[in-house]
Structures are given as C-alpha cells and as structure tokens.
Assembly symmetry: C2
Homo-oligomer: 371 residues x 2
Amino acid sequence: MARRSHNSADRAMPKPVTVSVDAMGGDAGPAPIVAGMAWSAAKNPDISFIVFGNSETLEKLVSKRSVLAGRCEVRHAAGVVTMDTKPSQAMRNGKGTSMWEAIDAVKSGDAQVCVSCGNTGALMAMSMLRLRKIPGINRPAIACLWPSRNPGGFNVMLDAGADIRADAEDLLQYALMGSSYARVGLGLETPRVGLLNVGTEEHKGRAELKLAHDMIADASKSAPFEFIGYVEGGDLPSDRVDVIVTDGFTGNVALKTGEGTAKLISELLKQAFNYSALSRFAALLALPSLKRLRKRIDPRRVNGGVFLGLNGSVIKSHGSADETGVSAAIKLAFELGQVDFPARVAARVASLSSPVQGDGPDTGQAYGTSK
Amino acid sequence: MARRSHNSADRAMPKPVTVSVDAMGGDAGPAPIVAGMAWSAAKNPDISFIVFGNSETLEKLVSKRSVLAGRCEVRHAAGVVTMDTKPSQAMRNGKGTSMWEAIDAVKSGDAQVCVSCGNTGALMAMSMLRLRKIPGINRPAIACLWPSRNPGGFNVMLDAGADIRADAEDLLQYALMGSSYARVGLGLETPRVGLLNVGTEEHKGRAELKLAHDMIADASKSAPFEFIGYVEGGDLPSDRVDVIVTDGFTGNVALKTGEGTAKLISELLKQAFNYSALSRFAALLALPSLKRLRKRIDPRRVNGGVFLGLNGSVIKSHGSADETGVSAAIKLAFELGQVDFPARVAARVASLSSPVQGDGPDTGQAYGTSK
C-alpha cells in the first residue's frame, strides 16, 4: 500500500550526526556503553560522539577502540545519577553529572541527540528542565517500539512511562507525536493510530478516553495519520495498528507485562528443551530456528525509549543494555538526528491550532530546510 | 515453606457439586460446552450439571454423552445474550436468557456455581443484579490465574476487568478477596499480595495507590496474607508474589497484553521452525518439548475468570473456549463449590471491621460448617 510505504527520500543522503552519551548511567558501568559506541561507529561512518563521565576511565576505554579515534570527544563529568535518585533531587543537584552534561550538549547544539542508560525519572526531569517542552505540549511522553506482525516488525507505543496520568488533550498530543515518530522510526507515511482501551465497543471505557477518541478522530481529518479507534492489549503486537496511544501508567504496566511474559516463555522453552537427552539433541538441531525467533523478539534490538515533546531528542536505553542494546539506541539516535525530529513534532503540534493538509515538515518534504 | 503449603484438609473429602451452565454464550455454540461438561463428568464423579439453553438442541447433545446420563438436567431458556449486548440491556431484558437462568440457579440454591462463556459485561451486570454484592463490598472484581514461576505454576491477578476504576478501599478489598481465592484456587495458606504500580520505589505512582499501599499493609497485620508492597508488570509471572492487585482497566490491559505477547511468540516460533527442511526436522524432534511448553502456558488450562464479591460463585470462561477450556472452568467451579467460597470471602471482608487473628472461615478450618 502506497500510503504505508517507506519515505525513501528520508534515507537518501545521510548527514553527519553527533550523539552525546551519558556513559555512567548503565547498570554495568561505562564499558558496554563504549563498546556499543564502537560497534555503531564501525557500522556507520556518519556518526560521531561526545561522551560524558569520568574522563580517566573513559579515555582508557575509548583509546582501546581504534574505530572511535577522531570521532569521539571525552568530556569529564564528576557526578553520577544513581538508580535511586529521585527526579526532584536530580533537578536540584544534577548539575555536573554525566546525565546533565549529556543533555546540555543537545541544548547547546554540540550534539543532535542524547543517549543515556540511566534512571528514567531523573532523565526525564532533567531533560524537561534543560530542553523545555515544545510550545503547546502539556506532558512529554516516552515512545517505545513493540515487536509486531507488521511488515516492519514493530509498532510504536506511547506513553511508556514519562507521566502516570494523561487527560484527553494529552492523549491527542501523544497521537500526533507518536505518528510523527512512526514516520521517522518506522518509515510509514500514514501511520494507523489506535487508542488503548478495555473494549473495542465505543460504549466501554473511561470518560477521558471517550473524549480523546473524538478529539483524535477530529484531528485525523487534517493530519497525516489514520485513526482506527479503540484497540485492546492484545492489539499491541497486531498488524492492524502502527501507533498505540495510552497514558504512562497503563503503558508502563503493558510494556513490563509484555517483557515479563516474553522472558517467562523463553525460560520455559529452555526448560522444555532441557528435559531429556532427546530434547537436548532436538534443541541442538533447532538452534538456528530458536536464534531466528530470538532475533525477532530480542528486546536489545528495540532498545531505546524516545522522549517526545521536548526541544531536543533524548533516548533512554535499558539500564542493563549490553553493547548490542546500546548500539541499537545509537542507531535510533542517528535516525532521529537525520531529520531534526523535534522540529517536526513541534510543527505537527502547532498545526493542530491551524490545521494544514498534511504538508507540514513531518511528512518528509520540508525537513531539509527546517533547521 | 509451611506457610505456603497446600491445605490438604480442603481436598480430603470431596462433596458433590452442581454446576449451572449457560450453554448458549460461547462463540461456537453449545457443542464444545457440552463436550467440556462430559469431559469433566468423566474425570470427576462428584460433579453434576444443570444446563440452560435451547432444550431441543441440548437434549440431543447431552443424550450422545452417556457419561452425563442422570447427572445433567436440561432446562429450556429461549433467549440468548449476544456478544454485542450492552450490560444495561442485559439487566433490563435479560430475564429468560440462558445466562440469566444459569445465574438464578445459583441464587435459588439449585446449583453452587455458575459457568458461562458469554459476554463478560452482561454476565457481571446480571450477576450483580441477581446475586447482589456481599455486604461491605463496593466493587466486585474478576480474578484470573496467570502462568508464573511459582511451584503451583500460577499467580492470581485481579481485577481483570469487572470495573474500569478502583479507589484505595476497593484495592484493599481486592487484596482480601484475592488472597481468599488464592487459598482455595492455589491452596496457599498465606498468599503474598503485591500492589501493581509503575515503580517499586514508594515515591512513585498515583495518590490512590499510596493510600491503598498503607491500607493493605495495615490490614495484613490481622489477616492471613503477607503484603510485599508494590510490584511491576514484569512481576506478574514472578515467584515473589502470589496475588497481584490492580484496577480493572490496568488489569484488563495487562491480561490481554500478556495473552497477545504469548500468541505472537507462539506464531513466531512456528515460523522459525518452518524456515527450512532442517528446521522442520528439528521441529519434529522438538515436538514433545514444544508440547510441554504449550501445556505450561496454554490459556485453556487457566480458563476461568472468577467473579469475587457476590453472594454466589460465577465463573466467566473464554468465549472461544473449546472442550478443554470449558472443562478447566468447570474444574475451577468444582473447587469453589467444595468450600462455599462466597461465605469465605464475606467472612474475610467482615473481619476488616472487627479484625480476627486469621481464624476466619477462609483459612480452611471452619468452612465445613459454614453452609
């Protein structure tokens, strides 16, 4: 279908992107983060880095990776935001931490996108403080990719946990921001948007969802997305929707439930194949098949929650991400950096007050001049 | 651990249980429902049925199953509640439908438990109308079993979708009712209860959750369950909790997300094994292992959402349940029928106003005389 095809123009001429990296946020310290940077650098000549953290440690790690030579600036940051740091503490005392400085590199224009494996709440609070919300946006959101039956292999879900509540107006903004992200992240011209609810009949659900339903339906008339109405939890991996909109509480529970279910099944599969000598032999033969499956649902391949609604791009990588996961987040950062993503989202949100016929900067026609 | 051991006394002397069955509610009509009844009857001599629906159709189906002879009364009900029926319509016009009459058989005492594969909203609305809420209960809930890493293989989650909201008082009642259900359904003396939230730190989450947290912690001091505090979506299958408490909106999204994820993985697993001649051969050898896995997470094995908080036991089976699924729901009905489950829940809720030291009827000591 033409309307859901890739915007090949978006990919035509890659431009250089500098990614600022908070190297101190991950569970396993800076080593897997620098390894992920090196991996990305080897695959993509148009990417360079500014990395923040303990400069002595980082210089050592970076100097071991020849592929990073001349493409990775180390900047010292003494402080570290821990996983226990409350968002309010992070905002008051965060200056000088690797997280704060990595965000500030986007604010100053030294980098186009920031990647951190750190504490989500602190990262969002600091990002809001330093980058500020796009005019017209009430609550920023975190968008994540969800393995699906669609040809591209993924759907977008938001909010994955930036805020614990959302009113109808917020959900409408999530629909706009999420479809902008699907155009860039999934290459879809006219993403299909669904609103997460407990039943597909229109008489079910909470009052704010009914209001949001009507507001999104209205907006879809003048915006480049198709609104398919309510969807249910079972539709998150479905091929009848591309962007699933929900509040951050529900979205976070859904995300962790999906990850938890996948993990349980993978453990049980291992147990099942470890049951007898025959089943262990079968597992050996089945290994390529199991690897194909794993590759398809590997959470490391879809690593990276994108913060939407800020004047700058920030990507939250899993705290436990290894080099594959970090590299996936950096790849996403590169794609967002290609198109000046925050400007697209801002234009889309602004278009709500003065609707235009799908020719705003996020349809892939005007972005080249939008910066 | 002794405190989590099975109440073997509960299983000592089975007493006869009559299950009233709404035969017209399922997606595939009455045939798989009668087949499931026959399956259960063959496995359990202490079970008998009253089945409601088109008597001509049902007499034919029942007469073909010799195991049901003398153990299954057919009662004619002309009306059928369809999947599109709104709960309000069902309450106004439901009299004479197979669903209404099946519920009424529990009200009249002809049966101890009702099983229906029909429309959840209509079934809950009618059940509330006919059986009434237990004194002190504000919102009834639907409890479901969730495949888990616990020795018994399952956790309890509620509310799976009876209502779309719940305040702190409701969540406390869910904790009490859910732990009563875990004692009967999972045979645990002191179930561990967790409150679903987006973070395990106590500073996160919605205001009503903080209040519920404190209320449940207080109640756990005098009730036979252990409160472990907040849990996240990833803990639904975990072995550090037995009962997960949440509102019906979040619970329903989580349930359908979990089912949807399991279904996606199972499809991808099939694709992976269908990739080449070698992988198809491997699949053949792996078949017993895959069957073991399937048995472990097969939703048909955990079929049956139990309605909690009513003066009578009602079980909602999946609309698409086949005979295995229907039989699983009937097995659950038999277990609830063994212990006069609603009386246990009522005693537990009543004990909140006058706390007792874990010796109420739902600890498995007094149920024999409670009816």
